[in-house]
């Protein structure tokens, strides 16, 4: 075996469907250290298919950290050990030969398991449709430069807008709270002048939807910020709370 290849023991969550009991199953895989984590799972799946077994289902698409599809808990950490990195951009050079890796899905009652490592995150869409928008019909906009926004403010709003909707914040939170996700959208729109007319309705409606979906409350653990692949600051949650309180006055 060349130095650039490592052998790993995997414990992977397998679950046939939403209402079936799941379990961790053991596998072994040999992989180049230059491969990505998802490419390691591709190799495992090729092996399983050749053996006539069912491959491991997991979500993936862009594989460059922007679509928010990938959603694996690696050794107990949402998206794995590398900070500011979605699991699709985690490379195998961060693992050692002979290591055991446990791979599980996001776990939250608001994110029911579909199959194996795939969960249903449609609750996030419903939170956005409750108010994560500015009501402006196509064609009714004014000239873009008629709205002046200082660079610092625009950059600040941008930082919150980079959320990829992966749900790691929920998976990492001991309360399975969606506060960072919801707070990021509320903060982006609250900072911008375009978001001002609807700010009260927006925060009330989105926070309400978060509760309806069954996400827990935030109790300031800060795990969400630690696992966020885009490094979104927990200050979003503070801003959401201020917006919420202010909305009743």
């Amino acid at each position: 075996m060349s130095k650039e290849t490592i052998r790993l023991k995997l414990k992977v969550w397998r679950q046939e469907g939403p209402k079936v009991k799941g379990e961790l199953k053991n596998y072994e895989v040999e992989i180049s250290t230059h491969a990505s984590f998802l490419e390691m799972l591709d190799v495992l799946n090729e092996d399983l298919i050749h053996k006539g077994e069912r491959p491991v289902e997991f979500e993936h698409d862009c594989r460059e950290g922007i679509c928010g599809s990938c959603s694996l808990v690696v050794n107990g950490m949402a998206h794995g050990p590398q900070a500011n990195t979605a699991v699709c951009q985690l490379h195998m050079r961060h693992f050692k030969d002979g290591e055991t890796i446990t791979i599980e899905p996001w776990r939250a009652s608001a994110f029911p398991i579909v199959k194996d490592l795939v969960v249903d995150r449609s609750a996030f869409d419903r939170i956005i449709s409750a108010g994560g928008f500015i009501s402006v019909n196509t064609g009714s906009a004014t000239d873009a430069n008629s709205i002046l926004i200082g660079k610092d403010l625009a950059d600040h709003a941008f930082d919150y807008a980079t959320c990829i909707g992966c749900g790691a914040c929920v998976a990492a939170c001991p309360n399975a709270s969606a506060s960072l996700f919801t707070g990021a959208k509320i903060s982006q729109l609250a900072l911008l002048p375009q978001g001002d007319p609807e700010r009260k309705r927006r925060v009330q409606s989105m926070v309400n939807q978060m509760d309806v979906e069954g996400f827990g409350d935030c109790s300031n653990h800060g795990e969400c910020e630690a696992v966020c692949p885009k490094g979104i600051s927990i200050s979003a949650i503070a801003m959401m709370r201020r917006e919420y309180v202010k909305s009743y006055f």
């Binding site: 922007i66 599809s69 951009q89 064609g139 873009a144 926004i149 625009a154």
Partner: protein, 648 residues
């Protein structure tokens, strides 16, 4: 070897319906002339939108705002995952905020020229006109574009242009624009005007009396084959770059919806026009599942070079200035590193073919920021490209602030797609194609920052008018999903899925896809030859035969089964690949992304043949095993003079 197809000159099946009159007033007059549908009548029509990227989300939102009932299907778990999200660099608009001489006509001209004179003038001018409205709309939605300290919007320049007309949100412009369109769409979901159907894959276009009246789709969670009927179908399903297996496309991007529509009568336009993007992270091994793009915007401040000497293995910093070849600046002094993508890609390939490539594989060139960092400071470079630099380091382990990036071309975008008329309607009445899924605006090569522009122009500002005109002009009778056409389609799709699952061969879907990709990359990639294309057709036919007799697939159909999805898509890619080869084989010229080695100027530039090939090739599927028919839409240039593209 025999490659047989029928040819129809000046085809009557291809009425482009471009309005008459001067270029500048075509779209204005058309908007004035289109028939309108009253608000009370819009409520009676269901519009099926397939795909929720920039084109699909913007169309769904806008049509719902107007009062239509929209059913929006996406293969993803959320509309926000569509691959538009990954576009990095920016979006063009002829705002002329920089006072540097930009006009709508100049954006039109750059796009026509950049496309190597193989696009329809009227469509491209409309695109340039609508570009300015997109920026206004996006800002109103809260899209956080980059700004100057005074509060106005920032611009950067992009390849193929000498003005700064590109708007951007750091290196995440696609994400921000998609989230803007997605939020507009979700607002209409909340209003009850859009029914959002996630994890649905369109498998067939259903026609009744030759008119598109719905789709059949697989529910990717339950495996159920579902039927959706409506007054029109909008295909906003992106491009087919994944035919190459390795590309910058997302893993789920596919041609299936467009291909199935093609087999139901929608002609496929210019399938051989593919864009190979010059700045991607090079491949590192066989396990590689995709390639990652580094935005073209990097060429604003990065300088492309290779060592002058062949086989120079010194570290880049050890190579003195006078032993470096900044080949783009040397060969194209007026555009330098900002030449269009096809030119930049081809020149990187030449440098590597000469043995001057760098890195472990020798298939890479440097993109160096040292001069810009010296000139502007690291802070400015970080502001402009911070996330791209981080991404590069995460994947390669190298820090581009200290050592130049290594880049190599990769498949990125497909200019070809379903043929559409000026109204974005395919050759199947009632079936429209928007965004990358159609062939319309980029000719043989797309300029940077123009894909976002086209997707959003089609969805926000074109289809609302042209779809209304179609609805108003046709008295469509209601069609139910109990119609025989739907039932027959469901049976056909179920049979196909059963067939895939019951082959029980030895080769996996991924192995077939990789094999296909290698053939397509080698023979229908950056440069093509008659012999290579003939060889490709033989190989592709053999892959197709083996696929249907030796595929190994496990798992079941009535459940989530990603590899079953992949298998269905790879089967379609195999068929498309053969058509691409045939299209590239018949086009005896070089233009834009289609470079035939036999047709080049003495200094290696693409040599067009306008006398014989100034047309769009639209391919008609005649049935399994039957000869294709190639219809020609002659391209008429009244406003630009065809010339040898020069960026020197």
């Amino acid at each position: 070897m025999s490659i047989n197809f029928k040819t129809v000159e000046n085809s009557s099946r291809l009425d482009a319906k471009a309005p008459s009159g001067p270029l500048e007033s075509k779209w204005k007059n058309h908007k004035k002339d289109v028939k309108l549908v009253s608000p009370a009548n819009k409520r009676k029509h269901t519009i099926i939108v397939v795909g929720t990227g920039l084109a699909g989300a913007s169309a769904a939102a806008t049509l719902a705002e107007l009062g239509y009932n929209v059913k929006a299907l996406t293969i993803h778990d959320s509309p926000r995952r569509a691959h538009s999200i990954a576009a990095q660099g920016g979006i063009n608009a002829a705002k002329n905020y920089q006072n540097d001489g930009d006009t709508i006509h100049r954006l039109f001209y750059d796009t026509i020229k950049g496309g190597d004179y193989r696009a329809r003038e009227a469509n491209v001018h409309r695109l340039a006109e609508e570009s300015v409205n997109i920026i206004d709309q996006a800002v109103a939605q809260g899209v956080p574009f980059g700004r100057e300290y005074g509060g106005v919007l920032s611009n950067r320049s992009f390849g193929g242009a000498q003005v700064s007309r590109t708007f951007y949100a750091k290196g995440q412009t696609g994400q921000q624009l998609l989230l803007g369109a997605y939020s507009a769409m979700m607002r209409m979901v909340d209003a009850g005007k859009i029914e959002l159907l996630t994890r649905r894959e369109m498998l067939d276009l259903v026609t009744v009396d030759g008119v598109a009246r719905g789709v059949v789709a697989r529910n990717l969670e339950t495996g159920e084959i579902e039927k959706y009927a409506g007054s029109a179908v909008l295909l906003c399903t992106g491009g087919y770059g994944n035919v190459y297996y390795l590309s910058t496309n997302a893993k789920n991007s596919n041609v299936t919806a467009a291909w199935r529509a093609h087999k139901k009568g929608a002609f496929f336009g210019n399938p051989c026009y593919v864009q190979i993007h010059p700045t991607c992270i090079p491949q590192s091994g066989d396990y590689q599942s995709k390639l990652t793009l580094m935005s073209e915007s990097l060429r604003n401040d990065g300088r492309v070079w290779v060592p002058k000497k062949e086989g120079d293995t010194r570290k880049p910093v050890q190579i003195p200035e006078d032993e470096r070849d900044y080949f783009l600046e040397r060969k194209y002094p007026s555009f330098g590193n900002l030449v269009p993508r096809d030119v930049a890609s081809r020149n990187a390939k030449y440098a590597c073919d000469e043995g001057r490539g760098v890195g472990a594989t020798g298939k890479a060139v440097y993109l160096d920021f040292a001069d810009s960092i010296k000139r502007l400071g690291q802070k400015t470079i970080e502001d402009r490209y911070g996330n791209l630099f981080e991404m590069y380091e995460r994947i390669t382990g190298d820090n581009p602030y200290e050592t130049p990036m290594r880049i190599y071309p990769a498949v990125h975008y497909t200019m070809g797609g379903l043929w559409v008329d000026y109204n974005l309607m395919t050759t199947v009445p009632g079936c429209f194609a928007l965004g990358e899924a159609n062939f319309s605006d980029h000719g043989a090569n797309r300029l940077g920052a123009s894909a976002l522009m086209q997707g959003l122009a089609d969805g926000y500002f074109v289809i609302p008018y042209t779809l209304g005109d179609y609805i108003a002009n046709n008295s469509l009778k209601p069609v139910s999903t109990d119609h025989d056409a739907f039932k027959a389609s469901v049976v056909e799709q179920e049979e196909r899925i059963n067939k895939l699952l019951n082959i029980n061969g030895n080769k996996t879907t991924l192995e077939f896809h990789r094999e296909l990709g290698a053939v397509v990359w080698d023979n229908i990639g950056m440069s093509r030859t008659k012999e290579g294309l003939e060889e490709a057709i033989v190989k592709i036919r053999a892959i197709k035969e083996e696929f249907w007799t030796n595929l190994k697939l496990t798992g079941e159909k009535n459940t989530f089964n990603k590899y079953l999805e992949f298998a269905g898509r790879v089967a379609d890619f195999i068929e498309l690949a053969e058509l691409m080869a045939m299209d590239a084989w018949h086009r005896n010229e070089s233009c834009g992304g289609h470079f035939r080695e036999e047709y080049q100027t003495p200094d290696g530039e693409a040599l067009r043949n306008d006398d014989e090939f100034a047309y769009a090739a639209a391919w008609e599927f005649a049935g399994e095993g039957k000869e294709y028919t190639m219809h020609k839409e002659n391209l008429v240039f009244e406003n630009v003079k065809l010339s040898q593209r020069s960026y020197k």
